[in-house]
Amino acid sequence: MTITTEALREVALTRVEYDQVVELLGREPRPVELGMFGAMWSEHCGYKNSRPLLKKFPTTGPRVVQGPGENAGVVDIGDGIGIAFKIESHNHPSAVEPYQGAATGVGGIVRDIFTMGARPIALLNSLRFGSLDSPRTRYIFDGVVGGIGGYGNCLGIPTVAGDIFFDDSYTGNPLVNAMCVGVVDNSAIMRAKASGVGNLVVLVGADTGRDGIHGATFASVENPEESHRGVIQVGNPFLEKLLLEACLEVLQTEHVVAMQDLGAAGLTSSVVECASSGDVGIEIDVQKVTRREQGMNAYEVMLSESQERMLVVVREEGLEDVRAIFDRWDLHSDVIGRVTGDGNVCIMDGEAVEVNVPASFFVDQCPTYVRDGIESARIANARAFDVDSLPDLSREDVGDALHALMASPNICSREPVVQTYDHTIMSNTVLPPLAGDAAVVRIKGTNKAIAVKTDCNPRYVYLDPYVGGMHAVAEAARNVSCTGAKPIALTNCLNFGSPEKPEGYYQLERAVSGMADAARALETPVVSGNVSLYNESGNEAVFPTPTVGVVGLIEDVSTAVGMTASSGAVLLLAGQHSATIGGSEYLKQRHGMTAGAPPSLDLDLEIRVQKFVQDAIASRMVHAAHDTSEGGLLVAVIEMLDGSLGSALDFSCLASENGGRLDRLYFGEAASRIIIAAAPTQVEALRTLAEAADVPLAEIGRVNTSGVLRMDDATSIPILDLHDSWASGLKR
């Protein structure tokens, strides 16, 4: 029998891969088996292009309780408490149906966290869109923001931080990455590792419909809108809330040996993962699965991606207790199978054997590809462009340039967005969105707090994937440090184009190398992550976007600081003095270019600067700190001033290191620098601390109550006008 090309396309396997399946099995696969191989060997589940690269990441450390490979990573923050966290993409579903795509993305990542036995305490999201001038992008933007709020608000988990970036490269393929953070008792972490022959496999939650069949494969091909034929999943946050509470309650009993949520590839991946991690077999009967629709066959049941479902492996003697808890929460549950000793995944449809395959074939035997990457000549040329050959900004134009930057969609206030997210629920939010560089969430019952932030400047990664990858890690960590927290670990979501194109593979490989080197240097191991490749439309890849989510620890929550300076404060720049407009927001706004070399990154200096700021905050010497990212120094200063304040600035000490150029001085971007605000009485002590830490420290201005920004040369701009520009960017 020969398999048709159409049948292979259906499951997104190559002929070579199909032959591997036949060789492994020693026979032709049955139809359901083939569908399951297609899903498990997709990039989304099998990481076949990225797995060799992911080995570069540091994944261990003294605080790591659970590294990659589980539903989420866990780090120890002392007192037996673990922080479970992970970020995941839902890009392709969001391109097709923005509201539901984003909503179910939130639902999926939240399930990953409570599957570990952790109570979710914070949500973040990292979003990338095309230009807001396009009505389609506006529709996608509104839908995604609405879906995130609609789902997260209903669950009662605060959405506390994130980042949004706009560029035309995302027009046909927006990025929606959702991150969830939970708290778990380190001794009670649950894993997706089935064990105990004879234990029962229980499916709980929503009934199974034809939602999102082949979602995992669909996430691994280009042009999502064209390729998607399945049924869009509609999220039910109310049901998820019940599932969350019920699962956490069930995990308090002694009866559960493993738990795995149903995400991409639905029952297929959860059954396979549970069996393979536990080195056991699982036998289930699809007829025991309650359906939402009539006439579904075994193939559809196994590949359905209906949301809000959980697979629980339960000891037989505990079944009654466990089901009583689910009943109490009005959740339907079915016993659909058992753990077996033969290591096989066996799927029955009543009496008929639909699948009988060793679990390891789906996981360990998944092919991996190491490819040869080549840098795109077009991008290499763009990077080689000498940005200092552009005419400098004249003094008269500084005000206009500043207004334009404040109103730029990439810099302007996120207030209209964050106001639609509930960020005060759970009464843990110490630094809400926009109050600091990262959100600070206290850990109830302790004196501690965590700081969390996502970040990635995709322009830097586009222009130089290695340096850009380092920046993504360093900037997320720097933001966390600005609240006084010590970054302890990270999660990442690798959003790239097709790895089958040498230019795409090059970006992926180099960015991962840069991220790995920075993570190692900053001692922030990678404990979880997700890979989303094939983010392309019309044959053009999105900007390479390795989103990084960092978690930091604050030992004494009362020391945390935000970014708002008070009147009378001295503003000091700690760290790098020299900036560049290469890859900057200014260059894009003013000259319409994404070009030049992005800022360089000296990891040793980065570590020293972050440590210095953490120490200065912990000893209460500074009351505000702010990273200077997109837009440069002036933008950062304004973000630190509330509308009633003003500031007299003097950047003269930085002029020579910026080649005397105003564009670099005011709007150039650089890593490893943080503006801190301190009372004048603290300046001497700060200088001493900086000197001991080998960190350059320069006084760049003072905060006053004038309501006016006064620059070196007496140019004055009312702060409220700048705030108006800043507040208006996302409206329209």
Binding site: E97, A206, V231, N236, F238, L239, D330
Partner: protein, 89 residues
């Protein structure tokens, strides 16, 4: 050509195969109140659109265009249109 006003009714609901959490919750609420005879509930939207058109067919067709472009999210929703009556303006 003379135009008249038609009252067009639009019923929008999730496609049969799409999960309807709202319908499920309402169904369960009815069960809790003892309405055991309820088998299923699908929730949707009902709109009345006053349309000036040359004929009922034209009113129907224009409203269908409105549904495709704005009123319904055809990725997940379907719609049914009735040109119910001439609106009394």
């Amino acid at each position: 050509m003379g135009k008249q006003q038609y009252l067009v009714e639009v019923f929008i609901s999730l496609k049969e195969v799409v999960n309807d959490p709202q319908g499920l919750a309402i169904r369960d609420g009815l069960h809790n109140l003892g309405f055991d005879e309820v088998d299923g509930v699908r929730a949707g939207k009902y709109l009345q659109v006053s349309v000036n058109a040359g004929s009922p067919e034209q009113a129907q067709q224009r409203t269908a265009e409105m549904c495709d472009t704005l009123l319904a999210n055809t990725v997940i929703e379907e719609y049914r249109i009735t040109v119910a009556d001439r609106a009394t303006s």
